[in-house]
């Protein structure tokens, strides 16, 4: 018996929510639970029907949700932070990229890969996951300098991944894709800014943002690296809207509140997209990549910040790619570990309100 796309998406969402609720009881990030919930459902579906494969609608939904979460992240980025710390963040991101290429490449070499393949593996591991950073920060309602740094660093790692694309493909196409994402993001942001600056209510803002998500998703669907291009373009578009809109606080509040449940669904979809067979094969290599990537990020943060600042590197662990293909196991492992690391880092940074009542938002509506 085949599973209809609508039912599959509903079940994935439900499994993700249940996983998120279970993880919140264990004081772990809900997004990690959603990822595990989606993965468990995919394994159950594989047991039910060995030939099961999710429909293309699930791919599109996941990409659109990721774009929405990244748009919210970009909108919450403060221009002031980039003015004050932009060069330091760029330097740290560059150091992280270099160390990741070296250490992950060395791990790949040790696993028996050729030199070119090992360097390509290192370059592919550079991209961080802005969606993961946003998921944890929005869930914890974190606001402050540490949150802003986390957002900026994860976005910068995405930019670095395009630059490193030359190492993977030996052509300038990925670099051009990155430039196209930056330019397209600015254009999309300016287009969205015009209606968004006239809207006041939460529902209207979300409706307009939804149209923007469709625009960015449609523009990036056929790109050479659709996920990275779409996420980077969405971050840039969100940043343009957040920085230039006169009603930026209402905009940020609406998007932040909607992106938190969106992130739960996104990670559930990612978990459900991973093939259990591929995960089993890639597990040893994934552990090696995870260990070397952790070391690289911690070392870069140690060099740039301080010994306690090395914890910041753990928060940047999630890899920025959909968990499919050869890196599926690495991406999944890094996301689970990185989501927990992000929560740990943000909880210790003082950006989250202690004893935050999860239903406090209702008081404002009365």
């Amino acid at each position: 018996m085949t599973i209809q796309p609508v039912l599959w998406l509903g079940l994935v969402g439900l499994a993700g929510c249940l996983g998120a609720m279970a993880c919140r009881l264990l004081r772990l990030p809900g997004s990690a639970g959603a990822l595990l919930g989606g993965l468990a459902l995919r394994m159950a579906a594989g047991w039910w029907d060995p030939a099961f494969a999710p429909s293309p609608a699930a791919d599109l939904m996941a990409l659109a949700t990721a774009v929405f979460v990244c748009f919210a992240l970009g909108c919450c980025l403060e221009l002031r932070l980039l003015r004050e710390q932009g060069s330091r963040i760029l330097g740290l991101a560059l150091t992280q990229a270099l160390l990741i290429i070296v250490l992950v490449g060395a791990a790949g070499f040790a696993l028996g890969m050729g030199r070119a393949l090992a360097i390509a593996l290192g370059a592919a591991a550079v991209a961080g996951s802005p969606a993961a950073a946003a998921a944890v920060a929005f869930e914890m309602r974190a606001r402050g300098a540490a949150t802003q740094r986390l957002f900026a660093l994860s976005a910068a790692s995405l930019v670095m991944s395009f630059a490193c694309g030359y190492l993977i493909s030996s052509s300038w196409t990925p670099v051009m894709a990155g430039l196209w994402a930056l330019g397209g993001g600015v254009a999309a942001g300016l287009v969205l800014l015009i209606p968004l600056s006239r809207l006041e209510t939460r529902g209207s803002i979300l409706a307009c943002a939804g149209a923007g998500v469709l625009l960015v998703t449609a523009a990036a669907w056929d790109a050479i690296q659709p996920w990275a291009v779409a996420c980077l373009a969405a971050i840039v578009a969100g940043f343009v809207c957040g920085a230039l809109s006169a009603r930026r606080e209402a905009l940020r509040e609406a998007l932040r509140d909607a992106a938190a449940p969106g992130a739960i669904l996104l990670f559930a979809l990612w978990g459900a997209a991973a093939s259990p067979a591929v995960l089993k094969i890639g597990l040893p290599a994934a552990l090696a990549i995870l260990a070397s990537r952790t070391a690289a990020l911690a070392a870069a943060s140690f060099l740039h910040v301080s010994a306690p600042g090395a914890r910041e590197g753990i928060a940047l662990l999630p890899m920025g790619a959909a968990p499919s293909g050869v890196l599926a196991a690495s991406v999944l492992l890094s996301q689970i570990a990185g989501l927990a690391g992000s929560r740990w880092w943000l909880a210790g940074s003082g950006d989250t309100a202690a004893g935050d009542d999860p239903d406090a938002w209702r008081a404002r509506m009365r």
Partner: protein, 380 residues
């Protein structure tokens, strides 16, 4: 990756967002823009929204229509039901009888529409109008409608969902009045009830807004898929589930607040796709009848412009379009029909919503709905 998004669609979407700014500045209703844009970009217009894209977007359609079905159950708690007026019961009976009679062939939709409109008028006109405004219109004035108002919409939805079973039986058994119809109805009620009871548990345990909203986003999809598996009416399943939640849930206010808060993007998505699905009359014989009804709506809309300043005109005109919403919602998965079958009744809601939108915009003052202090200022 599928070839889903032609470059023209990207340009058109950007142009649409740019056009929306002067449209909003002129305080024109945005729902109308969404419908017109969908019609222009759809397969029967410029063809930029391709049929394969519409198929891929089916979950969004199910989500938005199911969302509205859940919302329709907001006032179906026992306390409100005890205060229901006789007119609402008449509306339900009228909806069931007329569509049950007409369901074997959609060509008979015209008399059923007229009869259902009469049933709506026989019910309390104010309540029907408020129900419609509450169901389709995100205007803050409409959001303040009395809780009792959505009973009329719920009753009509329930009645039409019963007709869904009759339609399915007419296809499978040749006659609507067989035992299969009863089985469909019982299965629909049981499935919706079970879904509501089961879903109430995680909703009770959910912590905070994010988890509750994520659960609610999954509910219409699960309900839609479940109904598809059982061959029953998806909207009725979700409506019954919503009614269970309205009665059973300690945090029902939180759930329905979240549903109402995200109604506007859901409605816009649905109306956009509705516009894209506008079929040409020659594409499907049934759509000829639907176009007739749409023409009636256009005439009614013209009359509404004429009587825009008159309370009498509004009160008599608006309840007619009550039939548009449940017909559209239910017809999304009308048995025995593919895209044209469920596309055709979309015209009804498109025309109805367009009319309501225009009327609310034209109304010289809030209709009968009080504006509560602290809510955003009304448009117009």
């Amino acid at each position: 990756m599928l070839e889903l998004f032609p470059i023209g669609l990207v340009i058109a979407l950007a142009a649409l967002l740019l056009v929306s700014a002067p449209w909003l500045s002129a305080r024109r209703p945005i729902l109308s823009l969404a419908m017109v844009a969908g019609a222009i970009l759809g397969p029967h217009g410029a063809g930029l929204v391709t049929p394969s894209l519409l198929d891929t977007l089916a979950p969004i359609l199910a989500l938005s229509a199911g969302w509205l079905a859940l919302m329709a159950a907001e006032s179906w708690d026992l306390a409100s039901l005890r205060r229901a007026r006789v007119g609402h019961v008449l509306l339900a009976i009228g909806g069931t009888a007329t569509l049950g009679d007409a369901s074997p062939v959609m060509l008979a939709a015209l008399p059923s529409a007229v009869l259902l409109g009469c049933a709506a008028l026989a019910a309390d006109a104010d309540a029907a109008r408020d129900a419609l405004a509450r169901a389709v219109h995100p205007d803050p004035r409409a959001r303040q409608a009395p809780a009792l108002a959505s009973l009329a919409l719920g009753a009509a939805l329930l009645g039409l969902s019963v007709a869904w079973g009759l339609q399915a039986s007419a296809i499978s058994a040749g006659s609507p009045l067989t035992w299969h119809a009863g089985r469909h109805v019982v299965m629909t009620l049981l499935a919706g009830g079970a879904l509501g009871v089961v879903y109430a548990q995680p909703l009770r345990l959910a912590q905070g807004r994010a988890q509750t909203l994520a659960l609610l986003l999954a509910l219409p999809l699960v309900g839609w898929g479940l109904a598809g598996l059982l061959g029953t009416s998806p909207l009725c399943v979700l409506f019954v589930a919503g009614a269970i939640l309205a009665n059973d849930l300690r945090r029902r206010d939180l759930v329905f607040t979240l549903l109402g808060e995200h109604q506007r993007p859901m409605t816009l998505a649905m109306i956009f796709v509705a516009g894209a699905m506008l079929p040409l009359p020659e594409a499907d014989p049934r759509s000829a009848a639907i176009w007739t009804i749409a023409a009636i709506f256009i005439v009614v809309r013209a009359l509404a412009w004429r009587f825009a300043g008159s309370r009498v005109g509004l009160a008599r005109v608006i309840p007619l379009s009550v039939l548009a919403i449940p017909m559209m919602l239910e017809a999304l998965s009308w048995p025995g029909g593919g895209a044209p079958a469920y596309a055709a009744p979309f015209i009804l809601v498109a025309a109805g919503t367009f009319m309501i939108d225009e009327l609310l915009w034209l109304a010289p003052r809030p209709l009968t709905v009080p504006v509560v202090a602290g809510t955003p200022a009304p448009r117009g």
